[in-house]
């Protein structure tokens, strides 16, 4: 009886330590959002449905295409997609300089996702400044695949 109690107490203490440690570690190292903008793959996006309207305004003023990125916190492929594809130096340069970028969190901006018929992340929707869909890129594609697309759409919209 005494051994059982001892083991139980040790396990309980370990569980509490684990819970506390993982909680603080996550808060310290893995915070994924701030209130106004998301930094996904090191790129700054306009965030959320409110950012969409603003995004289109900027796009119309500057005649830039809009790229909407649907992601989610639990999406395993998104992290790699952000680092390797969106974060690819060439892709990143074009996106940051010549696009209006809007990130949609599938968990929060559900209505937008429904409106654009996006059901899973990662998912890119390219649009002209008037909101016409030019291309959809579903899934975690790599930079070699995405680069010609972002180049072509930029050129199409400019013309």
């Amino acid at each position: 009886m005494r051994t059982k109690k001892l083991v139980s107490i040790i396990v309980l203490v370990l569980i509490l330590l684990f819970a506390y440690f993982s909680y603080t570690t996550a808060l310290k190292n893995f915070t994924l959002s701030d209130k106004n903008a998301s930094y996904l793959g090191g790129i700054k996006f306009h965030r959320a449905a409110s950012g969409l309207e603003e995004g289109f305004q900027i796009a119309q003023q500057e005649n830039k295409p809009v790229m909407m990125y649907f992601w989610a916190i639990w999406c395993q492929y998104c992290a790699g997609f952000q680092t390797n594809t969106l974060g690819n130096p060439q892709v990143k340069k074009i996106l940051e300089e010549e696009y209006v970028l809007v990130a949609m969190d599938l968990d929060i901006d559900r209505e937008v996702a429904q409106q654009y018929a996006v059901s899973y992340p990662p998912y890119l929707v390219f649009m002209d400044p008037n909101g016409n869909i030019l291309q959809r890129v579903p899934g975690s594609v790599d930079a070699n695949y995405l680069l010609p697309i972002v180049t072509k759409i930029r050129d199409d919209v400019r013309r």
């Binding site: 684990f18 993982s22 190292n29 893995f30 959002s33 969190d105 016409n132």
Partner: protein, 795 residues
């Protein structure tokens, strides 16, 4: 007027009240007044719910879109099987299924026990209370809600844009990801599993409350049944993720699959506790009932995660407000069980038993229980605290830089200990204890030594992954453990299971023999699943973005590392009977698939205008109008052009059917043309204005693009089959090619839909995944053998 379906639910609620009053009045004052009515009332309740479920199925089969739920999850063109499975596609229907099965088990309880014992009566009271609460939850978000009650429809009727008896002609359609066999069986397995947990829970609560004997026996078969259904439900979910979602694996620690896994783990713990408790009532007299109660609470928690909308995952197919009602249920149940458990704990005298030291069967079982609890807590915490932080602080956090890393590092050490306990316990023999301890210590030693072995990349965390560098120090430390360390304990567990199997096969009497063999088979299942999971996740070889131009059809294209893919054929079809396109119209993807067939020929395409460009051409002055037509089968759509003396006005989003000549590689010198010398249009349809007509047939069908292909390693063909991509207005889905071989290595190709004439493919070579499937089958066979044998408890 209340719809018939809701009336049935209210009626079953009413008869349940009669049954409940009957049971309680007998309990408190021994009034026999309503006693005769109890059993008929419960059976009537079950009958009413059966009828309401049949009614819902009927609405689905006949596509009665007057009902919101039917409209939302079905469409008339779906095959019958998907119309039926639409009943459990959304939350409303699954809750009805849940409550229906709870009442079926209540009816079973009434018929088998006839409420003769106090235990049966009290268990029935708890079961009925649970059932009634679930009916109320079902009613809050009723599957029988009419479409005219939808807020936006109410608005439109008020404005007069819709008639007051509005019934939509076409359904919204089932989510494309759910249109496959696995999804027709996964939800019923899960929710039947959830429902059958009610009786073990109710019996355990009664036992905690009044110490009624026989509680374990009453709930035993139900617990096993739950274990089987929940387990198979989780497994089928994994198969779906592997075959349909194109995860390239069957387990990714997605919050929803993890949430269902947690009660399954605690239920496993309960079954271990119960197996000793039934032999000696003093053993685990608190742990066993508490584990049953906890499993039920975690089932409710899983239901919240799956359907409430508080948690989110790839599984977000339902969305609702019933989460709060379930949370209240959880809160009350948790509070009651804590109070009862504490009372029982302090009530029970500390047995002045001779302390037999640590090494006895009860203690090793106790360690096993703790390991299950620890493992379920890791999973519970990992999915819960990010949601908690998000709810309380509005911050999104990840559990690790890669979500699965968190679960893998924390679970790994305890999995080894669990395997060690399995090896020690399954073959435990009091007489040979010292000998067995020695073996155990050797295996422990080997496990620890092998943890430090260095390999190319066979560690708990993948060192080559970009996430590795970003993990905190402690995570890296555990992540640095070599996975070779799983093998000593795994071999030990296998050996021990074989020994047990041999012992039980030799037994003469048939009942213990079948049961012993069943137990051995289940434990083989554990080893198989772990082996499959670890090997497949560590040794999967991936070539991402093998982008093969459709033009190279029939040729072997090198995709690197000695692998090659040959596209044999590309085609499109509709999953449902009705074609998307009007007669004679081709799908754009079909044109792109084999342009040589259509070039310089008359083609007809049909779709939405997504882009318009009017270009003035040099004299004689004419205008060329360019229209981008997209029918959803080909990512980019296809340009069409027509000439007239004045610019033609076409609204974007207009549905058009265009007929004309297909011309390849078109260039124009006019400024503003989308097809220039620099960016020629690979294909364009030239037509005259009168060949452009408005309108297409209704969309909403399920278009499937399929690529038939062969995979080569060098010149040797290693796999072949069809990879598909499904697109519908409710989303898209990938159906990868999976070609299994006898050695257990799968050739796995994901196709993400044709884009710009390119077939984007991902090739994965996944070893040992068949072991996991075999393990799942062993689980099922083993538990069915155990269930087949009825053994009496020793009193």
């Amino acid at each position: 007027m209340i719809p018939l379906g809701d009336t049935l639910l209210y009626a079953s609620l009413a008869v349940s009240v009669i049954a409940l009053v009957g049971l309680i009045s007998r309990e408190i004052k021994n009034i026999e007044l309503l006693n005769k009515l109890v059993t008929p009332a419960i059976i009537a309740g079950a009958g009413l719910l059966t009828f309401s479920y049949i009614l819902l199925t009927y609405y689905f089969v006949y596509s009665d879109f007057a009902y919101d739920y039917v409209w939302q999850y079905s469409s008339a063109d779906l095959p019958l099987i998907y119309k039926i499975s639409g009943t459990w596609a959304g939350q409303q229907g699954t809750y009805l299924l849940w409550v229906w099965v709870v009442y079926l088990s209540a009816a079973w309880l009434a018929l088998t026990t006839k409420h003769e014992t106090a235990l049966a009566r009290r268990t029935q009271i708890i079961t009925l209370l649970t059932g009634m609460y679930l009916i109320i939850i079902t009613l809050v978000q009723s599957p029988f809600k009419l479409i005219i009650e939808r807020p936006e429809v109410v608005d439109m009727i008020a404005k007069g844009t819709l008639p007051p008896d509005f019934v939509p002609e076409v359904g919204n359609g089932l989510n494309a990801l759910l249109v496959n066999f696995w999804m027709t069986v996964h939800p019923p397995l899960m929710f039947i599993g959830y429902a059958t947990m009610t009786i073990p829970f109710a019996a355990a609560i009664v036992y905690l409350f009044t110490k009624e004997d026989g509680w374990e026996e009453l709930g035993r078969q139900w617990a096993r049944f739950t274990w089987l259904f929940l387990g198979m439900g989780i497994a089928v979910g994994g198969v779906w993720a592997y075959l349909v979602l194109g995860w390239g694996g069957f387990w990714a620690w997605d919050p929803v699959e993890t949430a269902s896994f947690i009660p399954w783990l605690t239920l496993t713990a309960f079954m271990h506790a119960a197996s000793l408790h039934r032999k000696n009532k003093a053993t685990f007299s608190i742990a066993a009932p508490i584990l049953a109660v906890v499993s039920f609470i975690l089932v409710l928690y899983a239901a919240i995660v799956v359907r409430s909308g508080i948690f989110n995952s790839v599984h977000a197919f339902g969305d609702s407000s019933t989460g709060t009602l379930l949370l209240v249920f959880i809160g009350v149940t948790t509070l009651v069980s804590i109070v009862l458990g504490m009372r029982r704990y302090f009530e029970e005298p500390d047995k002045v038993e001779e302390d037999r030291g640590f090494w006895n069967k009860t203690n090793i079982f106790y360690v096993t229980l703790l390991l299950f609890v620890v493992l379920s807590f890791i999973s519970f915490w990992g999915i819960s605290f990010p949601a908690f932080i998000q709810l309380t602080q509005g911050l999104k956090v990840g559990v690790a830089s890669d979500t699965k890393n968190f679960f893998n590092i924390w679970s790994y050490p305890f999995t080894i200990i669990l395997l060690l306990a399995l090896g020690f316990c399954l073959n435990y023999n009091e007489k040979e204890k010292e000998e067995q301890k020695k073996t155990l210590f050797i295996v422990i030693g080997l496990s620890i030594i092998t943890m430090f072995l260095r390999t190319e990349n066979f560690y708990v965390l993948d060192h080559a992954s970009p996430f590795w560098a970003r993990e905190p120090a402690l995570y890296k430390m555990i992540g640095n453990i070599s996975v070779i360390s799983i093998f000593p304990s795994m071999i030990y567990a296998t050996w021990s299971t074989i020994e047990r199997l041999r012992t039980y096969i030799r037994i003469e009497s048939i009942k213990p023999k079948i049961k012993g063999v069943g137990i051995a088979i289940v434990h083989f299942g554990v080893v198989f699943i772990l082996f499959g999971a670890i090997i497949s996740s560590n040794f999967t070889y991936t070539i991402e973005s093998a982008n093969i131009p459709l033009a190279s059809k029939g040729q072997l294209v090198d995709i690197g590392d000695g692998y090659g893919i040959k596209i044999i054929d590309f085609s499109t079809h509709s999953l449902t009977e009705t074609k998307n396109t009007p007669s004679g119209a081709l799908s754009i993807s079909e044109i792109y698939a084999s342009p040589e067939k259509y070039v310089s020929d008359n083609v007809k395409i049909s779709g939405k205008v997504t882009n318009v460009a009017n270009v003035q051409s040099p004299p004689p002055v004419t205008y060329t109008t360019y229209l981008k037509i997209n029918d959803g089968t080909y990512t980019d759509g296809l340009w069409a052009a027509t000439q007239a003396n004045a610019p033609l006005e076409f609204q974007q989003g207009l549905e058009l059917t265009v007929e004309g000549f297909l011309i390849p590689n078109f260039k124009s010198n006019s400024t503003g043309s989308p097809c220039t010398a620099v960016t020629p249009c690979d294909l364009i349809v030239f037509s005259s204005p009168e060949q452009i007509t408005e309108g297409t047939t209704a969309s909403g069908s399920y278009n499937v693009q399929s690529v038939r292909l062969e995979v080569y390693q060098g010149s040797k063909k290693i796999g072949s089959g069809v990879a598909e991509y499904l697109q519908s207005q409710t989303g898209s889905g990938t159906f990868p090619l999976v070609d299994s071989s006898i050695t257990g290595t799968d050739i796995y190709v994901i196709f993400q839909g044709l884009g710009g004439g390119i077939v984007p493919l991902t090739l994965k070579i996944i070893p040992a995944v068949n072991f996991a499937w075999i393990g799942i089958v062993l689980f099922a066979i083993g538990i069915i053998l155990i269930m087949a044998v009825r053994t009496k408890s020793k009193v």
